[in-house]
Symmetry: C2
Subunit: 481 residues, 2 copies
Amino acid sequence: MSRKALDYDQINENVKKAQYAVRGELYLRASELQKEGKKIIFTNVGNPHALGQKPLTFPRQVVALCQAPFLLDDPNVGLLFPADAIAKAKLYLSYTSGGLGAYSDSRGLPGIRKEVAEFIGRRDGYPSNPELIYLTDGASKGVMQILQTVIRGNGDGILVPVPQYPLYSAAISLFGGSLVPYYLEENANWGLDIDNLRQSVAEARFKGITVRAMVIINPGNPTGQCLSVDNLKEILRFCHKENLVLLGDEVYQQNVYQDERPFISSRKVLLDMGPPISKELQLVSFHTVSKGFLGECGQRGGYFEMTNIPPESVEEIYKVASISLSPNVPGMIFMGCMVSPPKPGDISYDQYLRESTGILESLRKRAHMMTDGFNSCKNVVCNFTEGAMYSFPQVKLPPKAIEAAKQAGKVPDVFYCLKLLEATGISTVPGSGFGQKEGVFHLRTTILPAEEDMPAIMESFKKFNDAFMDQYEGNSWYSRM
Amino acid sequence: MSRKALDYDQINENVKKAQYAVRGELYLRASELQKEGKKIIFTNVGNPHALGQKPLTFPRQVVALCQAPFLLDDPNVGLLFPADAIAKAKLYLSYTSGGLGAYSDSRGLPGIRKEVAEFIGRRDGYPSNPELIYLTDGASKGVMQILQTVIRGNGDGILVPVPQYPLYSAAISLFGGSLVPYYLEENANWGLDIDNLRQSVAEARFKGITVRAMVIINPGNPTGQCLSVDNLKEILRFCHKENLVLLGDEVYQQNVYQDERPFISSRKVLLDMGPPISKELQLVSFHTVSKGFLGECGQRGGYFEMTNIPPESVEEIYKVASISLSPNVPGMIFMGCMVSPPKPGDISYDQYLRESTGILESLRKRAHMMTDGFNSCKNVVCNFTEGAMYSFPQVKLPPKAIEAAKQAGKVPDVFYCLKLLEATGISTVPGSGFGQKEGVFHLRTTILPAEEDMPAIMESFKKFNDAFMDQYEGNSWYSRM
């Protein structure tokens, strides 16, 4: 029997090695159950609109007008669109040559990159250079492009927090590099311990791995922690000393649910530190329109900003971006609306403010409801979701449950999450998909179900969990589970 | 001096090796000149809207409504949008859970994949399975994903036509594979000679390369040829015999400007051939919303269809697609509108037909104007553009011009194209970016400048070219060039 290039045993091993649990076994099973007619609550992925979050009106008006520029001259356009959306659409169309249907420069529309630079300048208090900002089809594509540029082979290591968002592990596998884990401390509210980081690097080097970059996710996914300025300084010093590029995944910068540690960008902390580090440390920061209060996941808009990357390398990154010609242009319009929203006095300002603060305030409430809900469950402990969109409770599985999982041929947390799914329709991701310490189990849910649905969901979770625990702790042999 | 991971000499060599001339030196110089205020005619990339092609109205109306679903309930919506666009937008929103702002399944919206399958079924006369159709951010992203799946290392070779569209050479470099060239015959109207193909494979094997896949671009880019059924059969038999996956780049299937050889898909020819080949040959076919009469490049909509790929490999391809979560959803709406356009009797049918045939008829005229224009120039010969969007004239450079290029440190065709750009503002791509036989020189232009601008552009080209030839043939020492 001859072998063909796309036979399973013939394809690229790195493709097979890559794992992406957010759309893994649990998601596939949930999709099956949904097809069979079961009601599924998809909390496996941070996809706000899929769980009922309404899009902000203003960016949608602007992009609709950009898609249908013939409306701009229609005498009736004012009946459906406010004047500031019309003006913004005209402005954004003036940034393009040929409207949304033309490829842009492969780095994105210059006009939007300039708006992003102004946003970063206002946020950090240091001007930003649009030439070092590249627009992307969501942040993921940017992360993948930078990892591909850094990774030369399996001797190259990337420091990744554990638990981590599996984009990183998957992309590192795909590009044939080595993931070097550093553990976040659950008992210290998922904080980052520099000694632990040093040890990870030392162990990797002992194995012959050249550690080349470090990923931080701030606010954290799946862990929800917000890094302090002091912690960020330590990280930056560490990267500088060890010659690591820092990849700052800051896609949740608008999603902060406590007031003690507001979001502060890696770039601001770096520039505050002054030379030599501020002139030397290589930093790439990522942002998106998919999270925050826009939540426009399906539009795929993102950017990355490069700090202290030499011009010849910036050129190489441009060249590779150009191979797929151009990110999608409508996503750039969303990015523009996100970084330069309506201002006080604009017609749409009040509505924009009401909608955006409404979403963030509700997410803050939901973060509390969910954390409190988990902590009320038997054998479940959960740090408060300080930021981002996820809850990552630890589930202390009884030995009998672990044994039952083994019998079923499943990793214990997968076993638990599958049972949860079958019993309640709640589609989560097992902690093993993000990495966790040996013998400790978690699950990740988003905090995105609608506020009014949250009590019922948490009740349903608690009912399942407590019965599960009773069953496997042997206290309730007659449980109907 | 310590070395950092994003220093130029430290980055992934495959990134540096990748070349993409369509956005290379010529494009960069043209962008500079444009900034300096020079009028540039960008014919370097098949980007119709950038050169004034108007988008089809109906798909834009549908996507605008999908972006602004709050309009659907507005009593005034009928003043701006026709009823069939409103109905289509409602249908497409019913395919999503959460509208365009929600990630779709990583393979794309099931409802759109079904419409694509129906389109393929009608086109080929054989039903197509939506489960084997994946939507992508333009065809390029699909091509890159499949190449990444096939290529395991530099011992793996991919047969690519020369001249070729440099997406292929660039992606093969990026993924660390080996490009195995097969030459198209300019004297045989860029036809494909199977003996030549056999020889390419034999030579590659002699060098220890495992040839695993073959790319065809039909209609051709940059060469414009349309493959005959007989030629396609030969190719399919060859791939079957040699155990190659066939990658069928069919993005220009709507762009055909002669009646002798209408477009026929590789898949139809394969299925017409019957078993065993129709059950065994592995084929992946690509399509897009960027070309044809939509020309919606900036929207990034595409798909690939897999034929005879084993289910476990299809699953792996799904998993890798899921790492970047979801293609952009608005691009899927364009794909839906492309494969299921208004039907006779629908309100928008007449307008859709008028707009789309208007574009194709004008492109056909422009193909003739351009080919005739080139053939009227000194030392230039050009095959007729049978299909796609490009003209690829051969430019017979005099020895003195080649010598002058060498003095200037330029490849001869780059030298010529740069001079052309400086003199006329016409931004082309040198033939060396696509590959050409040793000592033979070409350039690629699109046939996309507006029909009314074409005579002046061709005149400007001729004036430049003939003076250039006079200068370097030494017949006109007093030329004012």
